[in-house]
Amino acid sequence: MLAETPFHSRTAPLVRAQTWRRWSGHQIASAYDPHPDREYAAVRNAAALFDVSPLKKYLITGRDAARLLDRMVTRDVMKCAVGQVLYTPWCDVHGKVVDDGTVSRLDETTYRLTSAEPNYRWLRMSARGMDVDIQEISDSVGALALQGPLSRAILQEAGADVAALKYFRLTHTKIRNTPVTISRTGYTGDLGFEIWVPRDHGVAVWDALVSVGSRYGIVPAGIWALDIARIEAGLIMLDVDYFSSHHALIEDQKSSPYEINLGWTVNDTKGPFNGQRALREEKRRGPAWNFVGLDVDWPSFEQLHLARGLAPRIPNIAWRASAPIYRGGKQVGYATSGTWSPMLKRYLALGHVHAAHGAPGTELEMEITVEHRRNRAKATVRKLPFFDPPRKKA
């Protein structure tokens, strides 16, 4: 039996096609409509409301809270201001990524860590000898993501004071009369916010947002829509684009931050942290792999279909699979997820290629199967993100 999120009583009646999926042991909508078009459109056009409660959440308090997190993650937590949010991966001692998530400084000595996977044990192991209290709040705190160009307007009308809230900052405010924490964060690469609310008040917040939002075209949206948006935004997903070093069965399944396009998060001059030595060495040597955007050439894609007497058919939801990437007849990598971008009108993929083939503009080929036959379509390496509207940070 799967667990229900704090918003289940509101989301369940809306899932018209019974398209549920599993996320961290929770039941969550893939889409509310039978297909995600309208939900995706809301992300880029109005506002989409996602239930992201299955995220793991930990409250870390005490004198050494910052020190613990700084020792664990690759970014400099000692410089994290009150009200600031850091997106960061964390690594094992070999510099291989364990998980990625956000560190939010809620007040002087209180931090919240979010992650894809359970990290309680890892936090506890890292906290030996420190004056710190670790509390898991995954079930007691619900989370909603309100994403899209009109998300700010909806929150403001619902009474939340977010007018001055900057990108990757958070504020403690209210929606109608319910105290919430709102961070300007998300997984869509658009203007957007995440709302953190105690479980028992979740439904009140959902109702307020939907009632206010109805005049702004708010649309409850599921994972399929989120997946399209996050690929456009070039945001990686654990267990899809990379694997936790804790779950990897073989070395080849592990990645360093440099190998998954998160080199920018590694502050190798700060105080000691997990994997620092290995990461310094890797930075000096250069990573073996690059994580890149792939822009699949439409004429080439179309031609492979025409050759079989077919019109090109694009996937109607994002795929999560492994597609070999070639250069000059040799496999040089593999794509891990892909989607048709309704916004950019391009067929996009994310993938790993050997570092020699990772420069933007490099011409590669991606395997696609047309009518039971394997073919290769041209694909060009692009810098991520594919889609990066100014409103995201404005």
Partner: protein, 533 residues
């Protein structure tokens, strides 16, 4: 008396003997299996002990049966059908329960109730055990090389193993080393904090051995049980439709399809030895049968000291076999029930009960409970409060009992073979009562449901199956009795000092459980397919 000639005669129709027979017959050998009892299967038998109620009398679950045997003998075509046994529920002393379910998310949430730390540790522990099972798995499929030997076959085997272990990587090698040396309690202490979880997991480390969870070496037995593999997935335990006897029958059917002849009610009196060569067998009725290959699937004690006159064997071998530790430590109680037990830990929740009763119940509320159960055995008594592994096969396979009625299989440890004063009817009754009394603490209505009770002490197991001292693995699965030391150094490759006389039972590498591995490897050694050096 008639005399007949065969290419190979297998003594004992247990699952390993049948596997050897099937492989030899498949290779074109005129093969005969001789079983003393009226039914095949040895310790893997299904019997209707009470009218309408079928019991897997001894061995009751399956997981270790080698996939290559299933493929080679096409066992599904001969009746192999393994049904999932999906959960384990441990009733706790505080009236609650700890469950492991088929769904990993659900199991995680359940562990989380007791310890957030352990819920996460279990994920990593599972991955590690997967690696460890992968590490050991190749050893199950090879004739164990002797590291002290310089023969080409042994060197080749050691090189193969060496390369394999190097490929494990340092971290996994270190973990394997720990598993080989530690007690299951100490090893699990490194991973978990919730006592009942540790106790339940450590129970796998004591089954069939005269060890307590704090005895060094028990961690390896833990791993042995993690190697269970169904459809390529490690750590999957299942229940054979029709009971474990149906597995034996499936193997027998495959053997017959390859041309093997199988006789029941055909006990072997002794092996015929001419000089230093075995040439055949004499049955209890005096019938003589001849073959250049005689294979004993019996345990080492019977193979070397009863079937042949030990005086024809080297003294060191006989001495080694005398020292080989059997020490049966477990008993079995089989119940015919008029209805389902009501485990109070499930709190009257009918949905929960319906799911839980399709799985196992582990009576292992704490580490101390298990260790105290061992203490009783150490000093020559059966455990007053024993560890028990309980399944209700009729919940999974309705054909095991009349509609609405049930059979319950209770594996009980410890019940030492060498109980002070020896086993007798009074002690058997007292043992059965202790089991029911313990069970009634957790399922108070159990006594009112019992239609029939079959209590098997190690002495009974020995009397019925022939297993020396009632050891279910044909000898303890302790590190000093495994690999190239099973059953004795120098004779760990299915051969014996007598030409033409071979061994194929669980007393040889890689050991017990319904695995069939030793039966297959013995056949390969006999056929010269693997270098038996």
């Amino acid at each position: 008396m008639t005399s007949q000639r065969y290419d190979a005669i297998i003594i004992g129709g247990g699952h390993n003997g049948l596997v050897t027979a099937a492989y030899l017959a498949k290779a074109g050998k005129k093969t005969l299996v001789l079983e003393r009892r009226e039914i095949l299967g040895g310790a893997a038998v299904t019997e209707e002990v009470h009218p309408g109620f079928k019991f897997s009398v001894f061995s009751y679950v399956v997981s270790l049966l080698r996939p290559e045997i299933i493929r080679d003998l096409d066992l599904p075509a001969h009746g192999l059908q393994i049904l999932p046994l999906e959960s384990t529920v441990t009733p706790l002393d505080n009236g609650g329960y700890l469950a492991g379910w088929a769904d990993p998310d659900e199991t995680r949430r359940e562990y989380y109730r007791h310890s957030p730390h352990d819920a996460e540790a279990a994920l990593r522990f599972g991955h590690l055990m997967h690696h460890m099972a992968m590490a050991v798995k190749p050893i199950l499929g090879m004739i164990p090389p002797d590291p002290a030997s310089l023969s080409p076959g042994d060197l080749k085997g050691m090189l193969k193993l060496g390369a394999h272990f190097r490929s494990l990587g340092a971290e996994h090698f270190h973990q394997l080393y720990k598993l080989m040396t530690m007690s299951s309690a100490d090893y699990l202490d490194e991973w978990y904090e919730f006592d009942a979880l540790k106790a339940t997991k450590s129970a796998s480390g004591i089954i069939g051995t005269f060890l307590g969870p704090r005895s060094p070496g028990s961690a390896y037995v833990l791993l042995h049980h993690y190697m269970g593999e169904i459809d390529g997935a490690f750590r999957a335990w299942g229940f054979q439709k029709g009971g474990t006897g149906a597995i034996s029958n499936a193997i027998a059917s495959a053997a017959r399809a390859f041309g093997a002849e199988i006789r029941t009610n055909a006990g072997v009196e002794h092996v015929i030895v001419r000089g230093e060569t075995a040439t055949g067998v004499v049955l209890s009725n005096g019938e003589e049968l001849y073959a250049p290959v005689v294979v004993s699937s019996l345990d080492p004690r019977l193979t070397f000291t009863r079937l042949v006159n030990p005086t024809v064997l080297p003294g060191e071998l006989v001495e080694g076999v005398q020292r080989f530790k059997f020490r049966g430590s477990s008993g079995k109680v089989n119940l015919a029930l008029s209805g389902l037990p009501d485990f109070s830990c499930l709190g009257g929740n009918a949905d929960l009960a319906a799911r839980a009763l399709r799985g196992a119940f582990s009576i292992s509320p704490s580490m101390e409970y298990l260790e105290r159960a061992y203490d009783d055995a150490k000093y020559g008594q059966f455990s007053r409060n024993p560890y028990m592994d309980i399944v209700i096969p009729s919940m999974i396979d309705p054909g095991m009992a009349p509609p609405g009625k049930h059979v319950m299989s209770i594996f009980v440890q410890y019940a030492p073979h060498n109980i002070t004063g020896g086993w007798d009817d009074a002690k058997r009754d007292a043992f059965g009562d202790a089991v029911i009394r313990t069970l009634a603490r957790f399922a108070p209505n159990i006594e009112s449901l019992i239609l029939h009770k079959q209590v098997l002490t190690p002495a009974d197991i020995e009397r019925i199956t022939g297993l020396t001292e009632g050891n279910i693995f044909q000898g303890e699965l302790a590190l000093h009795q495994l690999f190239f030391l099973r059953p004795v150094p120098e004779w760990a490759k299915y051969r014996t000092p007598l030409k033409g006389y071979w061994q194929c039972g669980a007393g040889t590498h890689p050991g017990g459980g319904i695995m069939g591995a030793s039966g297959r490897l013995a056949a390969q050694a006999i056929l010269g397919k693997q270098d038996a050096a």
